[in-house]
Symmetry: C2
Subunit: 349 residues, 2 copies
Amino acid sequence: MPATIKDVARTAAVSIGTVSRVINNYPDVDPELRERVQAAIRELNYRPNARARTFVQNSTPVISFILSNRSLLNPFHSGILQGVEEYCASAGYFVMFTKYDYSKDVRAEDLSLPGVLRSHGVADCMILAGTNYDNFVEAVEKLGVPHVILSNHHVTEREQTPFDRVGWDDLSGPYEATKYLITLGHRDIWYIGDTALPWYQARYESYVRAMREAGLAPLGQTVELSDNYYANGYASAEFILEKGYPVTAVFAAYDEIAFGAWDSFRKHGLDVPRDVSIVGYGDNDEAQFKAPPMTTVRINKSLVGRQLAQMAIEKLQQPEGRLPEVVIPVSLVKRGSTRPAAAAPIPQS
Amino acid sequence: MPATIKDVARTAAVSIGTVSRVINNYPDVDPELRERVQAAIRELNYRPNARARTFVQNSTPVISFILSNRSLLNPFHSGILQGVEEYCASAGYFVMFTKYDYSKDVRAEDLSLPGVLRSHGVADCMILAGTNYDNFVEAVEKLGVPHVILSNHHVTEREQTPFDRVGWDDLSGPYEATKYLITLGHRDIWYIGDTALPWYQARYESYVRAMREAGLAPLGQTVELSDNYYANGYASAEFILEKGYPVTAVFAAYDEIAFGAWDSFRKHGLDVPRDVSIVGYGDNDEAQFKAPPMTTVRINKSLVGRQLAQMAIEKLQQPEGRLPEVVIPVSLVKRGSTRPAAAAPIPQS
DNA sequence: ATGAAAGCGCTAACAG
DNA sequence: CTGTTAGCGCTTTCAT
């Protein structure tokens, strides 16, 4: 049975009010009493009861990170969670990790919500991460629970107000990457990636924009065998090579896709970057560890997480306030998997 | 301001005691009253206040997953966390994610503990995951906080009582893997991996045992440039090849190490599995996605996590009880990166 | 079967 | 500056 504030008060021969003031670092306490209280705390090995404290203050320093419909094994999501925890810990908050899988086709009121939403007071603000749909967001809104949304994977049909959302810039990365390849003299630049998923769609369109601006024809290739990025990238490259299409550069919509394509090229005796330049997307750890290290678009997942956490804590303190959307910039990291295109044969005139 | 139990009682014209009995599914409630209460709950959109409930019950349905000195980006750790969450959610518990970095050289009483341990009542049981040392474990013990330890990465100098610990079998996996390569006719089988870390040491010894039993000389190679597994595996293979040592098979102490070695072999024109067979360790998702898919030792991380969670919940309910250590078996997954050794040239007699 | 009331540990408001 | 006390929402015990 742990010591309570009463025990400390008795031992220090003061009132519980004084003990409370000492615990919470109130300024106006007689130094001698403060010392006596602190001695009693040490002696009794007293740790405040967080339950009682949060109960009387009617608020819990807990943020729930809800990962919807995605696996934490994906470094994207674990990276964001890690950023969330980092910020929360520094601000004195705790992070509750909840995985939540649901179908987008269930009506909001019929969703079987995660426990953290079935009672109130477990966590006072939610971070909706992973892939989310309108039905769940709507259910959370209806409950009146403060929340912040990871915007990139929020598949919505409603018009979004630019508030209480954090994401990274999914448009300029692919655009910059493609432009970089063009600058290097490449013309047969393929986009490899799924175009069915909305966020891949955005990446594709940015690629197309860069190609068009340079007067080049966009070349998209997607083989969607499974939700296995590597295999799809591999198969897409196989397809391009088997058809005999010219290819000197690839922008892959995700690092894992790039790795698959890379292995396919290698299998066909094509060297990266000698024969084909490759740019990935995401900058997971593996990218820098390839031989040669892979050029890719870096998304600062930790920063995305920290920003989500910061906004969540602000919302928790001011549930009615609306915080403007934050978009985290991305950056092209140039490494060894890209190089200038071989000079084109001079046309005979 | 959310509705409280009082509001429900007033609306249903019953006492708060009755409302409590309905909420908690007590059997002896008049069906008519129960119906009235439920109607009031719906009408007021009442959700019980978890804070008040846990306060009066003096226990919180929260387990803290403390990841020490490791990154959640490593699929090992995120896989375990995901298993923990899965079990906890099904049992009505919540998971608090805490990252905690510390030095093993600080005395237990001088450690700056994570917030979840500085007050009590935030979480009632801890899962100590990641890499842990005696000082932290001792500090947790001194606080009298119930806890369960992931045993594989617990670096200890104390004699361990086989209780309140969960781990996977780090001995039979490497042994089986090596024996399998021997069965395939390989003789020049290299172990690639760090031997400085204790758990890698165990894997190495098991490899050595299998080699010795077959009358073969163990061949260990470690290049430890950094904590980058891929690069170390790559460099280790480079070393073997540059020295011109014979090699027809490799057991790598971790999948990422295997990937690095694989790429080095490929660079040197050696095909897997035609020229070299490779066995990895861990069975991260990428292993099955290689071309060909990689033979590896599967560690069921989710099961490790679920087992940790189950024991944590038991400890939480019976803090004094001691639960026998659980060791999760591993299994060799045979895939395309291994094949029988080419027949040795028949010695001229 | 139901209502009334004590009390969980703490904070904060108030009185002195 | 310090002590006293109400009260947070709920469960549980004790009457009835």
